[in-house]
Amino acid sequence: MPSRFVKGVRRIGHRTINSLLRLGVASRFFVLVLLHSGSSFRRPHLIIKELFSTGVLSLIIILVSGLFVGMVLGMQGYDTLQRYGSEEALGVMVALSLVRELGPVVAALLFASRAGSAITAEIGLMKATEQLSAMEMMAVNPIARVVAPRFWAGVLSMPLLAAMFSAMGVFGGYLVGVKLIGVDEGSFWSQMQSAVDFQQDIVNGIIKSFVFGVAVTAIALFEGYDAPPTAEGVSGATTRTVVTSSLAILALDFVLTAFMFRGEG
């Protein structure tokens, strides 16, 4: 039936236009946040206060998860490596997988569900209860006063959290590999140190987590700011934050990895 076909095409067109519009609104929002960041750097206390809720409150989950991920890596890695008689390479395996991939990615995923959802819910509720409107009427720009400090706090805390995750993970791998299974401690560390390159691996990992921090925080803030001012609106936005930022993290990770480690040993 042609009418149904036309309807289908129309629906596709409608969806495309809508998502493009939303993307446009989101980019405009992002630019506004960057433009209005000046005041939050002149008043660092605004950022410090947000660092507490995004960074400090995510500490426990990041440290504990990092430890467990490292311990599992140590166990599984040993199981695989000892088949080829190269269990001394356990340190290399644990450290490289953490520093390059798992640290930035898993820490960012945890950050999205712990801090990202909280940011969206908070901003969404502030909007629903007219707090943002009230701020505007008090001649204070909510993007400069509320959004920008949260953005920079998120961007700053993400690399720190990822580094803590990786360090904790290496420690976990050391606990299981050396203390529990009995891999030689000397070769565990020395092989790790000769294989992990500061520039190539650690700095690239930090760059990754920085990019993830920008993505997650920007998505969380936009979803909150854009949420319909109702209870369902805010809860839907919170879910969207976690889903969208998780997908964004994984997709960005692929792109970044392709750029950073292509053609490297």
Binding site: L51, F52, V56, P159, L160, A163, A167, V170, Q193, G265
Partner: protein
């Protein structure tokens, strides 16, 4: 919560994060290992570098004493040139030989330096003259088969 408490926690958080980066750099990474801040550079020509990479270790008697800082192709002589950054506290004679070795059968490649008998020392910008290229496994196998075939031919 009190402003000072928040400040304290955030301060701790930042310190912990920076500490983690430091641990990663020094304990996990190679930044703490060979510090090539105080170093001198020499170059060595090889007809084939095999799988040698930039930042590969330079060892002498099995101890890491430097890193490969740059690898490029000399278009005139059609050879590979590797420049090595060596730790300043170690000196080598002018007739030192450099060879590309492999750690283990399939491990990563590194450059081994063996000092000679010359009393003059290698200085910044010098060139190591005696070099031995990487052993390429394929050509080794090829040579082996060729020799076998030649032996077989003689036996008849």
């Amino acid at each position: 919560m009190e402003r000072t408490t928040i400040d304290l926690w955030v301060g701790l958080f930042v310190l912990l994060g920076l500490g983690a980066i430091l641990v990663l750099a020094l304990k996990v990474g190679n930044l703490g290992g060979v510090n090539i801040a105080d170093s001198y550079s020499v170059t060595a020509n090889f007809s084939n570098i095999g799988g040698l990479k930039v930042r590969a270790p330079v060892k002498s008697a099995g101890v890491v004493i430097g890193r490969v800082s740059e690898i490029y192709f000399d278009g005139e002589r059609h050879e590979a040139v590797a420049s090595l950054k060596l730790d300043k506290q170690y000196s080598f004679s002018k007739d030192t030989s450099a060879s590309i070795m492999t750690s283990g059968l399939l491990g990563e490649q590194y450059i081994a330096l063996e000092t000679g008998g010359d009393s003059a020392q290698l200085k910044e910008g010098d060139k190591i003259k005696i070099t031995q290229s990487a052993v390429v496994l394929e050509s080794l196998i090829g040579q082996f088969i060729y020799n076998k075939a030649a032996d077989g031919g003689e036996g008849k």
